[in-house]
Symmetry: C2
Subunit: 350 residues, 2 copies
DNA sequence: GCGGTTTTTGACAAGGTTGTCAATATTGGA
DNA sequence: TCCAATATTGACAACCTTGTCAAAAACCGC
């Protein structure tokens, strides 16, 4: 009922017949292999066009070594961050003739190697993806990397990673970005600057904090541990941090939040108390997620080129696959951008 | 380099040998086909377990008629709505041994049939997904449905759809939900109730508005066209609507927004003017997206079980595939829930 | 206990591509 | 012009499953 029984779509054989060559020659042309005369190349391409030929992925991957499938491993995609990266990854996959599929695995970073192996067993061996894109919070997990390596599946990681092991990595310079944020704040005259950390199992939390600390020192300021709060990258934890800051005898005059969601929560906490941002508190976020412009005042933040990160990750991964020669580490750093909006101002002098 | 050359993973042949049966029997057992003795079934299962056997998806789909691939067609996944549905869909796919892949196609609903055909040509014929999940704004597009039908690919649509054509449909009762919203507002004593529409190419906009209108009439109120504003489902358009309402001589005392993002924009517009929600304006949203609790006051809204919608869509689709008998239309309605939070109150009497 | 059903099992082909390797055509040098 | 080397092409096997169909086994009623 559902699918028509007679599959009348063209096969490689049909193209070969129409072009008057062998199927192997068709295969060569379509895969851009050498050793085919230009004249035949054209003929084959024309025939393929005319017949609307589309190669069968399953036959290709059964016989060949490629599945033309890239797997994105993530946790819970309900975050603008993952979402935007995924967007870029899908686009790049479509351009390259690959397909992006999604795997959701929970708390993988908390599991033992053999549990991870089990979790990946089916996902990775059924379809045998040609590569895997690893996002936070899994990008920086050593065990996951180990299992994937053991399975012989190439990996590209997105976001800051401190693993020594060789591999593909696409990120922005979180460290430098954090420094720029602090510089902006100190330039405005702030000297009591707070910080909201993100999830502790994500490397970006540590890198951003370390940039923050270094820049503070460079500005001759000390990092007051009372002004450094934990967080989990979500709105609520930013809100909680805000409550905490508001309860302080000497609250900070500015806070750098590790991401935008928490920054929004922080602003909400202040606003709720009748305080004004940026008058009573300057706030800087990180990511330039959609919430940054869906809040008032508009959030000053660091823009991560998220969908570019996703697209670049896929492109690098795919190009690694063909260039058998390229081994070892390869790290790509994309540009971030400081986005000045309305949540920062000089500290109130009173 | 990347992948180990010697593929030592077990094949069906290995399982058959170990279990002392033919490969066809293994195939039968693993696919839960009838006509195998219970004793052999156990033997085969044990052998498969012992060898960590994982069937090759490509061989399966090359020979069989299934690809075990479900394709989610969407527009731009940068919306909490799409995201949550996708989440449920991935989970369901994983449970069922399917894989979810993503296709991004832009403005498909604006294209001609042959353009759509071209856009789908590669995506759909390479991998030959067993089914397609269609989300807004494509769920309700007739041409897309036609092309997919022509290609013989089963489709499940998520969200309200008015196409007569048979097919799978998973949705909530948007109409009834809208009525509940109005009832809540009229119960509070509101009689000047505004409405913010969503994108005009999405059926939900019309269904929600029609529920709104009917409930207004039922309450003895008339729908004042001055209080009905267009929107595009995003924060900004809600904000714009808010500006408009604020400019009115007699603004509404309550507004029903077709989704949460716009409701948040509306609240932002009022708050920015120094007005208070719900004192100066009651607001109700739709979706219960994350923004509903990432704004202050917390948004009263209708909760859509988004990830359930996605999961149900996939499950229905897959079950249709095996039950060859089931044809024709099938419509599943999941429960929504009215979520009372802090953006509604009786109208100010002054 | 026998012929006829029905159930269970297996041998074999087929699915559409790519890899291997041999065959053929072309080129270059003597 | 001929031989060796190289470039181009094609025949055929292989990849790993599932569908078909026939064989074998088990069951039934008389």
């Amino acid at each position: 009922m559902a699918r028509t029984k007679t599959d009348n779509s063209a096969k490689m054989k049909d193209v070969a017949d129409l072009a008057g060559v062998s199927i192997k020659t068709v295969s060569r042309v379509l895969n851009n292999e050498p050793h085919v005369q230009e004249k035949l190349r054209r003929k084959v391409r024309e025939a393929a066009d005319k017949l609307d030929y589309v190669p069968s992925q399953s036959a290709r991957s059964l016989r060949g070594s490629r599945s033309y499938d890239i797997n994105l491993v993530c946790h819970h995609p309900d975050s603008a961050y993952v979402n935007a990266i995924q967007f870029g990854a899908v686009i790049a996959c479509q351009e390259l003739g690959y397909q992006l599929s999604i795997s959701l695995v929970e708390d993988l970073d908390q599991k033992s190697i053999s549990e991870i192996r089990d979790a990946f067993e089916t996902v990775m061996r059924r379809r045998r993806p040609d590569g895997v894109v690893l996002l936070a919070p899994y990008a920086n997990d050593e065990k996951i990397g180990f299992v994937l390596h053991e399975m012989g599946i190439p990996v590209v990681r997105v976001g800051p990673v401190d693993l020594q092991k060789q591999g593909l990595l696409v990120e922005i310079d979180d460290y430098q970005a954090a420094i720029e944020v602090v510089r902006h704040l100190t330039d405005l005259g702030h000297d009591r600057i707070g910080f909201i950390r993100g999830s502790e199992n994500q490397r970006s939390t540590h890198v951003r904090f370390s940039g923050f600390s270094v820049a503070m020192e460079a500005a001759g300021l000390t990092v007051d541990t009372d002004l450094v709060r934990p967080g989990t990258f979500d709105f609520q934890s930013g809100y909680d941090a805000g409550q905490y800051f508001l309860g302080l005898k000497t609250p900070p005059t500015a806070v750098f939040s590790s991401n935008d969601d928490m920054a929004a929560g922080l602003v909400a906490a202040y606003t709720e108390r009748g305080l004004k941002v940026p008058d009573d508190l300057s706030v800087v976020g990180f990511d330039d997620a959609s919430i940054a412009t869906c809040m008032r005042p508009y959030l000053t933040t660091i823009r991560q080129p998220l969908s570019d990160l996703g697209a670049t990750a896929v492109r690098e991964l795919v190009s690694t696959l063909s260039e058998a020669s390229r081994n070892g580490a390869h790290r790509i750093v994309l540009d971030h951008e400081f986005i000045l909006r309305d949540t920062t101002a000089p500290p109130q002098t009173n």
